[in-house]
């Protein structure tokens, strides 16, 4: 029996909100609340930066102002600068990628997963009669790129978000991107409409990609909407991350675990000392009336990373505290708030309310 994936045909005009949706469906998949998902979406003119990319250096800000293009930042492991407009068809795959490794000969970790997904989308392009080639870095017509993606991994879970240039305005694309990562000129880009000399109906393109991915992945898509938890998380991610210049410009994100609960990480000694016990008692006391919104994670030094299950989420502040052996500490949403002392109840409560 074929595995069923959710097909989410859901777009909002706001590119930031679209990226919040992508992260929400990825988190939901990681938490086992939803199935593997393919989302197809469109967004108003925007430049999508990879998480490590430079806001200042990789984009032509003057051109962005001229065309009213928003610059947004996506979660990803790699650099990248993707332009999209209403003529681009964006895709998001949020899946447990372990099954993908069986779909390819000579499996190469990470690269093969990208290859398989790009092959699926490439088959969709071939349905329009264009000769395309897929490799782990994208889809190409000759050496011109027609599709590109920004991947993110969380253990075995893959978020693969990208763009297929169906009717994308490549002249604008060429103008807005300024990157040292790769030479971008019109000669290096391709769109389906430019190849065929006509605009393609987006519904037609979506249908082609869905069918070709079904064939390549050996799955069946079932159209569904966003789950309620996902919708709530989208709002929270927009408010705390995607809607803020702190993320889009400075690449600084809050640490939220699982489905986006405010997270209090407490790093203590093993076995806990009297100060550590006092700290835990205080945190539990303060959080007792915010339990629905706050998640407490107690980490004990020397007990390894699997103290909270097989897919640990550890903020960089906690990693730094562990590396530097600073204990005990309280970290709220990835920010080290209290170290080597027990704060008063009022001070801790205020810090938590600020984070909420």
């Amino acid at each position: 029996m074929l595995k069923t994936w959710r097909l989410l045909d859901y777009s909002t005009a706001d590119p930031k909100m679209n990226l919040a949706v992508n992260e929400a469906i990825f988190r939901s998949r990681r938490e086992g609340l939803t199935q593997d998902t393919l989302r197809l979406w469109q967004s108003s003119n925007s430049v999508m930066l990879g998480a490590p990319s430079s806001y200042r250096n990789d984009v032509n800000h003057e051109a962005c102002r001229k065309y009213g293009i928003e610059i947004v930042r996506a979660v990803s492991v790699s650099c990248g600068v993707l332009y999209q407009d209403m003529g681009s068809l964006n895709f998001t795959v949020a899946a447990d990628a372990t099954f993908l490794k069986h779909l390819i000969k000579n499996y190469q970790p990470v690269l093969s997963e990208y290859q398989i997904l790009n092959e699926g989308f490439a088959k969709g392009l071939q349905r329009f009669g264009v000769d395309v080639k897929a490799d782990p870095t994208g889809i190409y017509i000759d050496k011109r790129r027609i599709s590109e993606a920004l991947p993110l991994w969380f253990y075995d879970f893959l978020l693969f978000q990208g763009t297929i240039h169906v009717n994308t305005d490549l002249d604008v694309y060429d103008e807005v991107i300024r990157t040292n990562l790769r030479p971008i000129r019109k000669d290096f880009l391709a769109s389906l409409s430019r190849e065929l000399g006509k605009n393609i109906q987006m519904d037609e393109a979506k249908k082609a990609f869905v069918q070709s991915l079904e064939e390549r992945l050996g799955v069946r898509f079932e159209e569904q909407g966003l789950a309620e938890d996902e919708q709530k998380l989208v709002e929270k991610l927009y408010r705390l991350k995607y809607g803020l210049s702190r993320w889009n410009i400075d690449s600084h994100e809050p640490f939220l675990s699982g489905m986006g609960k405010t997270t209090v990480e407490v790093f203590i000694a093993y076995p806990p000392t009297s100060m550590c016990r006092e700290l835990i008692h205080l945190v539990n006391d303060v959080v007792s009336d915010m339990k629905d919104e706050v998640k407490i994670m107690i980490w004990m030094r020397g007990r390894g990373i699997y103290q909270h299950g097989p897919y640990p989420e550890i903020s960089s502040a906690l990693q730094a505290a562990k590396k530097r052996s600073i204990i005990p500490v309280i970290i709220i949403n990835g920010e080290l708030k209290f170290r080597e002392s027990v704060p008063s109840k009022e001070v801790l409560k205020k810090a938590l309310l600020d984070a909420l």
Partner: protein, 231 residues
């Protein structure tokens, strides 16, 4: 908290206590909270200590003349990671502690500060990046501090470098990927032989670190049968 805690020195379940106990690491006496059936207790200060403070405290307090025994005791503490740059100064500190307890060389407490500060300058991963394992450098640092060598010294400088060189050679024979525990064991064994040959100093018989106590913490990278300390 109703969780069961296990003794980091013997892995036995600990029980709560309110008796006065002696810290198995630094010897401090205080009202205990968790004690294991073998009587092991780790004081609050040792439990909170970062690696450099812990190593200094323990080396200052110990009366042990077997550097391997001191190293094993320290490495069982959660502050000392499975692999980490703290091993670089752990080796020199335990060697100096044992030498001091044997009454050889003039080694005061400032020797441990020197050993830690010098060992900290050897970077994490220097074995692969520089071709100098920090544990081997630790043996040279111990010889340097014990003999008061500087770059202007004659024999002392040569001895320090020979000590590092011998330890490096023995550690290199183990192969990789690196294991900071195996390197520490090899460095101490080489140092013991070096001090006996060059200075006529015999440490009390070294505790045998085999089979490796830390293998379970290193299942993904452990060299297994290739490692002389697993066998």
């Amino acid at each position: 908290m109703k969780e069961t805690f296990y003794c980091c020195l013997c892995k036995k379940p600990m029980s709560t206590s309110s008796e006065i106990a002696t810290c198995s690491l630094c010897g401090k006496r205080e009202k205990a909270d968790y004690v294991c059936p073998d009587g092991h207790y780790i004081c609050e200060d040792c439990r909170l200590a970062p690696p450099d403070r812990l190593i200094k405290k323990v080396c200052e307090a110990t009366r042990e003349t077997d550097p391997m025994k001191i190293a094993l005791l320290l490495m069982k503490h959660p502050a000392i990671q499975m692999h980490g740059p703290e091993h670089h100064y752990l080796v020199s500190s335990v060697l100096l502690a044992a030498l001091r307890n044997l009454g050889r060389f003039k080694i005061d407490d400032s020797a441990f500060d020197k050993a830690i500060s010098r060992g900290k300058r050897v970077l994490f991963g220097s074995c692969g990046l520089w071709g100098v394992c920090g544990s081997a450098a630790g043996v040279g640092i111990a010889v340097s501090i014990a003999t008061k060598a500087t770059m202007m010294s004659d024999k002392e400088r040569s001895l320090s470098m020979q000590a590092t060189s011998e330890a490096l050679s023995d550690i290199a024979k183990i192969g990789g990927p690196r294991c900071c525990k195996a390197s520490t064991f090899a460095a101490i064994e080489t140092a013991a032989s070096f001090f006996e040959r060059r200075f006529g100093i015999k440490f009390s018989s070294l505790e045998n670190p085999r089979p490796c106590y830390f293998k379970v913490l290193n299942d993904k990278e452990c060299l297994g049968d290739k490692c002389p300390y697993v066998r």
